[in-house]
Symmetry: D2
Subunit: 307 residues, 4 copies
């Protein structure tokens, strides 16, 4: 077990480096409410196996978790359907952009994995089946609140109204899957639920705490079984950063999931649940400083799963 | 000028051969109202430059013209926008299926040509801009009635409600183009208008008469100018039969446009406007006996544009 | 029949316009010997049904016919194998660049048509089967000399050595087809023959004369039957200008085949065989002024096959 | 540290299960010398951090390591060029078959990662640059012998002559990359060296021993630095099983590299280097029983990197 004072010192050093970093990437502009978030924000939080949570930076400021939510809806869907979910979505990297429709056409409307947009729509659609959007969003929030151990986690409805192009793109994916019989609910219902799920806001500290069930923290097995945790981590490793997943594995060496709001959740199994937030994105659409900060933390702590 | 008695004899011979043909292709089943049309129907009609119209078979039975309607909406759209239409849709063969979305992704939401579904949606969307669907459908019917020289041409509303998969596929294309800023109206409005346009019913004789403006019939220039007629014919030649366009040009040697209802309109410039109807389709989705019948007619009459 | 003096006047006017044209396109640079051909050259020749040949510009200067040769090897291969050739190559437009390998992968090594590079390699490979490259090249030259009615047509061996990238690209296509069992000869043998065939040099006048068999000139049926001529013309119409075939049909309205050396052969069935040469290419890789010149000629003469 | 007697018992149990398994996959037939290897073979070997090597089955029978060799050539190339190698090859999963050429066309001849065939050809080409094939093959053998700690490792020249289709496919990839300027040596030289590298034969025990440098075994850092070991493991995790990499990560949870000869090398960082051999392949082209055996071993030992 690492000494907490040493870990805090490392966090503070990295935090200072990130605040000073000149190249901060570009804040995504396709969700109007997110476009004017300052690229100066930086926060990192590390939750350890014994329940501690160390932070640096703006770790108490809530941000839009966006696609990081896909990890939690996947956990919920697997809890409800088990491996049967994988008749409707694959578990291979796509080799394509997060919103590509090309692969759907050549593979009969079955998305490659649950973390590209089409796959996440299928996951949400699976949870939604037989329920109302409000019920499902309530269930997602309950899961997150229980995982994080606190209640102050909400949906920002202004963020849930996506910019036209972004909304149409996801509706196109949903209609396309519906045409292949791979959607159970009307496309606008599934997309509407999905847009709200992506609009969940959490602080960096909350996100690190909520990810503890994925590091195998004591007591977390009541949320998700260890076997399932391993599988979710595997999917985060191979598919969690879209077409930059190989790069994240190469540089960081941990399973992780990014969101367009600039958040990343990364898991050091048995050791730590790590959350970062920095709104500027790199060309693959992942937080630029967030990736760099986790890379430095993992190297300093020797936390790579690859040795 | 060919002797009409000789042409009638050729039509009757081909009609008899088609009635006896054992392999009739498969009737499309993705539009419920069309699925139970008998594959025994066959009709051919030839309208000549001097206003005669010779027929064989069920030439007075109305059928669903479906994608053949795209020729007429293209003529209307070019009349309204001129070549400016081609900033929103290309004029190259696609080398892909009629409802493919792959090409849209790699070419920024600009469909390859006006005859694949995505391109036809853009054409309808262009006519629709600033109007109500009912007005636009009225305009299309007026164009057809004037071109055919008679009023008994209508929309079958039962056919306009597409089977789910088919409807979703077109909505996916529309949303995809909307995401690229290449749609002026809401996707469901454009798609709804398009589905109704495809549900127009005409007899084989009416269709041959309506195509006369494309053969350069005397007086037809008041509908569409000769220069524009040549261009529409060129698009029908290279793109009129989806991914079977090369095959149609190779076998038949005329510009043509097929519909999933089993109709084909083919043009022998300066000589004849030819319509056929036989509901069974070949693997490319074009009328099997319809293609064969036109091939035999063109060979017998020496009407290929290729010598 | 058009008055020859009128046709000559039109040719001279177009020739003058082309010499003065400011935007001449770009001379291809991937064949070293062709890279330093001046973009100032322009020539047009029109061979009529009665054996006359009218010209304008540098019509007696030999140039590299490159892919225009594919029309003649196709005629030879069809003469030897008939429609059996089409078990190895399709007859549909590709919707892709002339040297794309993507389509080969998804369609089992069967090129889409005989005019993209892969298809032309199959055609040459079919002629080569059982013979030596020298014999085959001799046969192609004999065909061309007989078609043109003169003997001064040769291969420029310096041009036959392609620039590395260009050579490798064609070898990749050949090996890829060999991997699918769609090549009868070793890839380097087929490619070597193909590179030499492309290096044939002809004058613009010779090319127009050599194309007379495709317009159905009297006596030309001894070279190729009328039915086959129609089919070759159909392929030139739908596939003769790579991914610019739709555009050529739209603007010009005649079957045609272009070459990277700046030559185009276009056929007005029953009326004329037209050759142009201008080395600057447009973005689709077809002669920029050559296309424009034929467009103007066809409009002036009313030669479009589309009315 | 696990008790060796317990590990041996687990190995023996798994070995017995695999010998009895009814569905053994299909032996690859595209390399003639490999087509008649019996699908009854099974072997597993586990080398631990302290230098022990436990085995079960035919662990002393040499087999063709094929693509497993790519791990070792990657280590050599990184040792020579460092991260500069990644200007010529990416590090993302491809989402396509191991021998696909599609991705090369859309990404300028830069293969997605070093483990698909195109990428491995680039790696071999990088090592070959400035040397003779014989020298390079000698260097690869020396690396393997040192890593395995024994000398009896050889190339089977009969296996190095690939079946025609397989050979042509790789030559197509090589020529394609040469066309994009991404090959330093003539395609046949690079391919010839690559075919010989794939024809290296090792026993399952030798392979497990040779993989010890990737688990961070004491003393192994003299071969490859710890930072580089982590990166090779990351690439094995995301790209080591072609389009079945996500599946291997999901089921097994370790970095691994498979070969068409039925071998797999998997690494449990800090704990074990695991080799299996069973010639029958699953639909993704990876050893069917080999994957299953490693999956069971990892579950029994708790060796997944994902918790």
């Amino acid at each position: 077990m690492v000494a907490l004072t040493e870990l805090q010192a490392i966090l503070d050093r990295i935090g200072a480096e990130m605040v000073a970093a000149p190249d901060r990437g570009l804040v995504a502009d396709y969700i109007p409410e997110l476009a004017h978030v300052s690229d100066r924000h930086f926060a990192m939080a590390v939750a350890t196996a014994d329940g501690q949570c160390l932070t640096t930076g703006d770790a108490e400021t809530a941000f839009s978790i966006q696609s990081v939510s896909k990890v939690f809806t996947l956990a919920i869907a697997l809890g409800r359907l088990g491996d049967q979910l994988f008749t409707r979505v694959g578990r291979e990297p796509s080799g394509l952009a997060f919103n590509s429709v090309v692969q759907l056409e050549s593979e009969n409307g079955i998305p490659r994995n649950p973390f590209i947009n089409a796959g996440a729509l299928v996951v949400t659609d699976a949870i939604l089946h037989g329920h109302k959007p409000r019920e499902v969003l309530g269930e997602i929030l309950r899961f997150l609140r229980e995982a994080a151990g606190e209640d102050d986690i909400h949906i920002n409805k202004a963020v849930a109204a996506p910019e036209a192009a972004h909304g149409h793109r996801n509706l196109a994916l949903a209609h396309f899957m519906a045409a292949h019989g791979n959607l159970r609910n009307p496309p606008d219902l599934t997309c509407g639920t999905y847009f709200h799920q992506c609009a969940i806001e959490m602080t960096t500290r909350q996100l690190a705490m909520a990810g503890r069930f994925l590091m195998g923290a004591p007591g977390a097995a009541r949320l998700v079984s260890p076997a399932r945790v391993r599988r979710i981590n595997a999917l985060m490793m191979t598919c969690g950063h879209y077409d930059g997943s190989g790069e994240f594995a190469y540089r960081v060496g941990l399973p992780g999931k990014s969101g367009v709001g600039g958040g990343i959740l990364a898991i050091a199994p048995g050791r730590a649940s790590i959350a970062v937030w920095s709104p500027g994105l790199n060309v693959q659409g992942n937080s630029q400083l967030g990736t760099l900060a986790i890379e430095r933390l993992v190297r300093a702590m020797g936390w790579s799963v690859f040795g």
